[in-house]
């Protein structure tokens, strides 16, 4: 009998160990595929940005987008992951954060750590997404290397500091103010939009965008279909992004990033309802497929802070409101001389701000855990202001220094000719299509006067 009990105990222990390992591996698998799906966001940004460019800049735009991804990932390894772990309480370094330093035993293959690599990867993709948000706004005139430095600052330092503050179980915005932003409306989108606005103020509009009397020219995208497909790819990738925003607890209920109970079902309800609300809002406001898809993205971002708690029709309404307002914000900025080629400030900056605010307006009172404050309008407004400033100030300051040093923008005649002809060794459309080849002397920036030239 005693022997049988001993054997039974050994079997139970083996089963428990097996179940524990299965949970660990299922967790790895879940975030692996979230990360893979997030790559689709970059396929989308690539198509979106190239489509939004004029034909003379299409490959330069694509090159810039690819390199933003390529430079953010290693720099996020060098210092981004450590920033997230080190600064949840502000600017003092948290105890234990040395495990996130790039020479730590956790920062590489390790048979006793199945979590760090997969979470680092998911966060590295969030970082690359954040940098890509800025990329589209500045196309056709920013110097590639200036942008890469800005992308590294945004993707591997600024946003992740904001995430440490407001998207971390010990982040001071949550601990002190109950800030709630499960889908990173503020921590990713608002920060990226505000950073982008700071750059745009120093970068200035594309040549030909504004006439001497202040009237505005439409510098038309060379391929609206490519932009629309790109936006849909971004939406696909968002399901990976948002999946990465919930914590898989093997053998127990999901939790959001703050440790509050949540379900992936909640995310499913509200992501789709916010998305469709945004599309309809964009359609009602503009009838323009580019803006309809952009507003679909705004809809998700608008609902993102409360994806875990919204009643789905409310997520739809919040998404639709965001979709109606975002094109108005874009027009407001355009009329004030801010040339945002893809509406990134309106879509991400405004959408993120609206999402954070909506959480305070419509979901105050949700309890927190571990004695932290409940969700409140005050907490959300504090988060909005802090994260907006955190994005805007470095974006503006660094680009101002670059502008003063003369390294922010390409020379005027190069801009007029098109970046592809000067910087890219291949042609985007070498056969069968016409190539727009404006002259540098075109006073309108080569828009109306751009002449189709038969391919050689």
């Amino acid at each position: 009998m005693e022997q049988q009990l001993l054997e039974l105990g050994e079997k139970v222990a083996a089963l428990e160990a097996g179940a524990g390992m299965s949970n660990t591996i299922n967790m790895e698998i879940f975030y692996w595929w979230c990360t893979a799906l997030m790559i689709t966001i970059h396929a989308g940004f690539l198509a979106y940005e190239m489509g939004a460019s004029r034909a003379k800049n299409v490959l330069a735009a694509g090159t810039k987008n690819l390199l933003a991804f390529a430079f953010v990932v290693p720099t996020f390894f060098f210092f981004g992951w450590w920033i997230y772990n080190a600064f949840p309480s502000g600017f003092t370094i948290a105890e234990g954060s040395e495990v996130a330093l790039p020479w730590s035993a956790a920062m590489g293959p390790n048979l006793t750590d199945n979590a760090t690599g997969i979470f680092w990867a998911a966060f590295a993709l969030f970082a690359a997404t954040t940098a890509s948000i800025a990329s589209g706004a500045v196309i056709e005139r920013i110097r590639l290397t200036a942008f890469l430095v800005l992308a590294i600052v945004l993707g591997s330092a600024v946003w992740i500091l904001g995430a440490a503050w407001g998207w971390h179980p010990d982040g001071w915005l949550t601990v002190q103010f109950g800030f709630h932003d499960v889908g990173a409306a503020g921590c990713v989108h608002l920060i990226a939009g505000a950073f982008t606005l700071g750059i745009l103020l120093n970068l200035g509009p594309r040549h030909g965008k504004y006439n001497a009397d202040g009237s505005i020219n439409a510098l038309k995208a060379h391929s609206v279909p490519l932009t629309v497909v790109g936006l849909m790819l971004i939406i696909v990738g968002f399901f990976g992004f948002l999946g990465g925003c919930i914590i898989y607890n093997g053998g127990a209920q999901w939790t959001n990033i703050y440790g509050q109970p949540a379900t992936l079902s909640a995310f499913a309800f509200n992501t789709l309802m916010g998305f469709t609300g945004g599309i309809i809002g964009g359609w009602v406001k503009t009838r323009d497929p580019f803006w309809m898809m952009s507003c679909g993205l705004v809809g998700i971002i608008s609902a993102a802070s409360g994806l875990d708690v919204w009643y789905p029709p409310l997520a739809f309404a919040i998404g639709m409101a965001g979709g109606v307002m975002a094109p108005m914000v874009a027009l407001f900025l355009e009329k004030r001389g801010i040339d945002d080629a893809v509406g990134a400030v309106a879509v991400h900056g405004f959408g993120g701000a609206w999402g954070v605010l909506a959480m305070g307006l419509f979901a105050s009172g949700y309890p927190n855990v571990d004695g932290m404050p409940a969700v409140s309008l005050t907490g959300q407004v504090v988060g909005l202001v802090v994260l907006g400033a955190l994005g805007f100030i470095p974006g503006y300051a660094i680009s101002a220094v670059m502008k003063a040093a003369g390294v922010l923008r390409v020379p005027r005649d190069v801009e007029i000719m098109g970046l592809d002809a000067v910087e890219v060794p291949v042609e985007a459309y070498p056969e069968g299509l016409v190539r727009m080849a404006p002259s540098a002397s075109d006073e309108d920036g080569g828009m109306a006067a751009a002449k189709p030239v038969p391919a050689q």
């Binding site: 430079f71 290693p74 720099t75 390894f77 060098f78 790039p102 020479w103 035993a105 956790a106 590489g108 293959p109 390790n110 048979l111 006793t112 750590d113 110097r143 590639l144 290397t145 890469l148 430095v149 390294v407 390409v410 020379p411 005649d413 190069v414 007029i416 000719m417 000067v422 910087e423 002259s439 540098a440 002397s441």
Partner: protein, 61 residues
């Protein structure tokens, strides 16, 4: 180059190349940092050269 920190898989923890060797990981981390920074520096020079070449071949734009 023997970069393995292991002689057996029994009880293995961190097993990446040069794990546990401050010199080895430090060196390759430095190499990676230099490659990233150097690529941006090289890109800056390349970009400036492209612009200069364009101005030379198209003096009037």
């Amino acid at each position: 180059m023997n970069s393995s920190p292991l002689t057996s898989w029994d009880g293995a923890e961190a097993y990446f190349t040069f794990a546990g060797s401050g010199l080895g990981t430090g060196f390759w981390l430095l190499v990676a940092v230099v490659l990233v920074a150097g690529s941006i520096w090289y890109g800056t020079r390349h970009e400036a050269r492209d612009f200069a070449k364009w101005h030379k071949t198209h003096p009037h734009g």
